[in-house]
Symmetry: C2
Subunit: 189 residues, 2 copies
Amino acid sequence: MYSLILANIARHISLTDKEKTYFTALLKNIQVNKKDILLKEGQVCTKFYFVNSGAVRAYYVDRQDKETTIMFGVADWWITDMYSFLNQVPAIMYLDALENSEVLELSKESMDNLYIEVPKFERFFRIIIQNAYVREQVRVIQNLSMTAEERYEIFIKKYPHIVQRVTLKQIASYLGITPEFLSTIRARK
Amino acid sequence: MYSLILANIARHISLTDKEKTYFTALLKNIQVNKKDILLKEGQVCTKFYFVNSGAVRAYYVDRQDKETTIMFGVADWWITDMYSFLNQVPAIMYLDALENSEVLELSKESMDNLYIEVPKFERFFRIIIQNAYVREQVRVIQNLSMTAEERYEIFIKKYPHIVQRVTLKQIASYLGITPEFLSTIRARK
DNA sequence: CGGATTTCTTAAACTACCTTAAGAGGTAGA
DNA sequence: TCTACCTCTTAAGGTAGTTTAAGAAATCCG
């Protein structure tokens, strides 16, 4: 139940057995079904989620009800509305399950305690967020300098396991195009 | 010389006088002239920069020589090629001065020592990077769900002091459009 | 000061991507 | 098993943003 998350952490910091025990005791294991909602826009996000199995999606809905997929979280990924979680303000995004999934929750309160009890975790989450930042920066560059077709090519190369599991509409909303246009892009090949 | 950066840090962590002295001793103050290059694509980025005065721009150049402005750094901003700096791999971006500027440099080596000597800085840079991550995420959402005109409106509201100081071409490359189109957007009002 | 270079504007023709619509599978629920 | 409702495709017509080009305005520099 905790082997995946402990391996994830071990990639960046070393924990003693005692620290591992302390950390895992803070986690809550939950099972969610396909389409279950973890977070709604407007709610304060109180959890940082780690996906153990299945798939979770983060997306934004604008005034015209158009969805933009912010990220897909599959096994071994951390996912949350970072701004809402860290500042305890209303979320701008939705989080929901694309498949039946097993998710570990770390609450804001637990995280604040964790930083005090095991300060090494400051380093761990700094690295996790650093990597997330760099990925978003690369995505901004790609969105601004490439056509939708090029972005789609990169997406299927980078996330081949995700392409199989999500709908065309969701991929289109990640790329920032309509499903119809993605369909014609696919047909070109 | 260090008052701005110490105030910047004090917003997130408290330092003793001794820690302040240790920290500022790691910094190198440099003066750069307009158009001076701080980092070239392909070089390993060895410095994290803090802008004391003036303005610095980070941008990406694609195979067709098209520039995409990644960020503008004015007084009180941290700027670097994060991926290159942290992993000591070749940079994907350029950094150069838009005006004569005063910049403080923190080297990778100094930063590694800083984390050991004053672990509080793990927290500080985690927060700095968190904020940068959230900004990039919002930018992705805006790029995917808004028209160029809407993004321009938001840009001039959010960075009114920057608009005055940089060229139209640079703003256009931040928004991901051509200077010609930005010119027509401006003429519409 | 004057010439060179860069920046900005305008406009016409073009392309990437959107909108609307209609039909063909697939899947889920009564 | 039938019906309802998503998902995906295809295609025609529309719009946001690009390309090319040329001139005007501003800035740089000897």
